[in-house]
């Protein structure tokens, strides 16, 4: 019985984080944080600024070191791996501050998303997908990224993430610096991508923004992570 349920469980769990601790300088940011994301889910981590949301996502994606704990992605232990290796396995991070290459064009930025061999095999297909998702990026493909508006930059950031051919897309506070209507459009796109089969782990300050689109939610407070049901969260925040 145990064996059986375990095999089912393993098949569906894409990402599993167990008791990780991370520091920012000397500051202990994450305390024994645990979470899991199943295949096809849209999972949110919600919390106020400075409580470790970004650090959590960066730790999972190999962009900041993990002091202790276990991270499993696609079944294998990935706690010691750096971002480039994880991107190759399909775990892709979209940064809150976009992290575009400002003196390169929209197209160059997108194509760099498909830098690794695995993603390059799907480069054409994914580029068409991004351009049909955001026709505006197709129009501005030869424009330098430093001249884009905030909304367009966020489109490129998400588009570049998709170009990496992710199996799990980790999106760090996409609403940051965006006007409310642009945030809404952005989150609708994320929701649509999820409905089309992409597994998503998203971090946001406010649960209200994510209303109705998420499967499960964790709250984070001073580096402590708790799974909460969405109704309770509403009251907490």
């Amino acid at each position: 019985m145990t064996m059986w349920s375990r095999s089912i469980w393993e098949r569906n769990t894409m990402l599993e984080v167990e008791g990780i601790n991370a520091l920012y300088g000397d500051f202990h940011v994450l305390h024994d944080a645990s979470l899991s994301v199943n295949k096809g889910e849209l999972v949110a981590v919600v919390g106020a600024n400075g409580h470790g949301k970004s650090t959590l996502l960066k730790a999972i994606c190999g962009l900041t070191p993990v002091k202790s704990g276990v991270i499993r992605f696609g079944g294998g232990d990935t706690a010691g791996l750096k971002a480039p290796q994880l991107v190759g396995q399909g775990l892709v991070y979209v940064a809150e501050d976009r992290r575009l290459f400002p003196d390169m064009t929209v197209l160059e930025n997108l194509l760099l998303g498909a830098y690794l061999p695995a993603a390059r095999a799907a480069e054409k297909h994914n580029l068409n997908r991004v351009f049909s998702l955001y026709p505006r990026l197709a129009e501005r493909r030869n424009q330098l990224c430093r001249s884009l508006s905030g909304g367009e930059a966020q489109m490129v950031a998400l588009g570049r993430g998709l170009m990496s051919d992710p199996t799990l897309l980790a999106i760090d506070e996409p609403s940051l610096g965006l006007a409310p209507n642009l945030t809404e459009t952005m989150l609708q796109t994320v929701s649509q991508l999820n409905k089309d089969g992409l597994t998503v782990l998203i971090v946001e300050q406010s649960l209200a923004l994510l209303n109705g689109m998420i499967d499960r939610v964790y709250s984070i407070e001073e580096g402590v992570l708790r799974e909460t049901d969405t109704d309770n969260m509403q009251e907490v925040l």
């Binding site: 962009l63 190759g88 290459f101 400002p102 390169m104 760099l112 690794l116």
Partner: protein, 290 residues
């Protein structure tokens, strides 16, 4: 009129070689924000290695010597990044630390060269002799050749940066290191690559200029200082800036040398640098940030 044209041509041909040295310095700074103070000593190293193979040791033809020196220079660049730059990266004050360490490396290379080859100056015979005269303007075939080779090298670098996968990765790393990490670029590998290219470029310049400026253990400081002024004027980290600035300064130098005297060349450069930095603190095309 002919004279002015001749000075202009002399400046432009010189500018192309300066450009090769400066672009290498700028490439490394752009990608890794490291100012390599051993850049000039590596210029000397290239000259000495070629001189040894051509004139002192086995007496190889120059082209074969260059072919043999190239991988040595590339491996030297990779080795420097791996052994002394990477361990310091991320440490406190790493920018200052890497400057001190590369300065130390410069002394090690210089003294190593003196130890092995002695303190004297050396020269490599030019691979072409004679002069070309067109409409009263005379230029040596050698100067013309190194001009063409230098332009080809810089052109090849630009092509690499703009049109190849690894070149795009170099630009990505120089524009946003975390962003580069996020798309799967192995940043350390790119640092190694830029150091390799940089040392190859400055080493080749050392070989090309050996017949003109001679090779000596301390002879790299002049080109380094010039490359440094060019890179700051053009904007730290911008290869395009280095390209433009190299020609501006080389032409200025040619005129100053002719009309005022050779010892005024560097003061004129520094004056130009001060004026440009007063108007544009980041240089012409700088990526420098605080």
């Amino acid at each position: 009129m002919t004279q002015i044209l001749e000075i202009l041509i002399s400046g432009i041909t010189q500018g192309a070689v300066y450009c090769v040295v400066a672009v290498g310095l700028s490439l490394v700074y752009g990608a890794s924000r490291i100012l390599n103070f051993a850049h000039g000593s590596l210029y000397s190293l290239g000259g000495f290695l070629a001189w040894y193979l051509v004139a002192d040791g086995p007496g190889l033809p120059l082209w074969l010597a260059v072919l043999l020196v190239l991988p040595v220079l590339a491996l030297t660049g990779i080795g420097i990044e791996r052994a002394i730059i990477r361990p310091l990266r991320g440490s406190e004050n790493w920018k200052i630390n890497t400057i001190m360490v590369t300065l130390g490396l410069a002394f090690i290379i210089e003294n190593g060269l003196q130890l092995v080859f002695g303190p004297g100056t050396r020269t490599i015979a030019p691979f072409v002799e004679g002069t070309l005269s067109v409409g009263g303007i005379t230029i040596t075939w050698y100067k013309l050749s190194i001009f063409v080779i230098s332009l080809a090298l810089v052109g090849a670098l630009e092509f690499f940066l703009s049109s190849t996968r690894y070149g795009q990765a170099v630009r990505a790393v120089s524009q946003d290191m975390q962003g580069a990490n996020q798309v799967g670029i192995n940043v350390n590998q790119i640092f190694g690559l830029t150091f390799a290219l940089s040392v190859v470029l400055t080493g080749i310049a050392g070989i090309l200029l050996a017949p003109v400026f001679l090779v000596s253990p301390l002879g790299g400081w002049g080109p380094f200082l010039k490359a440094f002024v060019i890179v700051v004027l053009g904007g730290l980290g911008s290869t395009k800036g280095a390209f433009v600035a190299a020609f501006i300064l080389a032409v200025l130098e040619a005129f100053v040398i002719f009309y005022i005297g050779p010892s005024w060349a560097m003061p004129a450069w520094l004056l130009m640098l001060i004026i440009v930095l007063m108007i544009r603190p980041k240089g012409l095309f700088g990526v420098w940030e605080n």
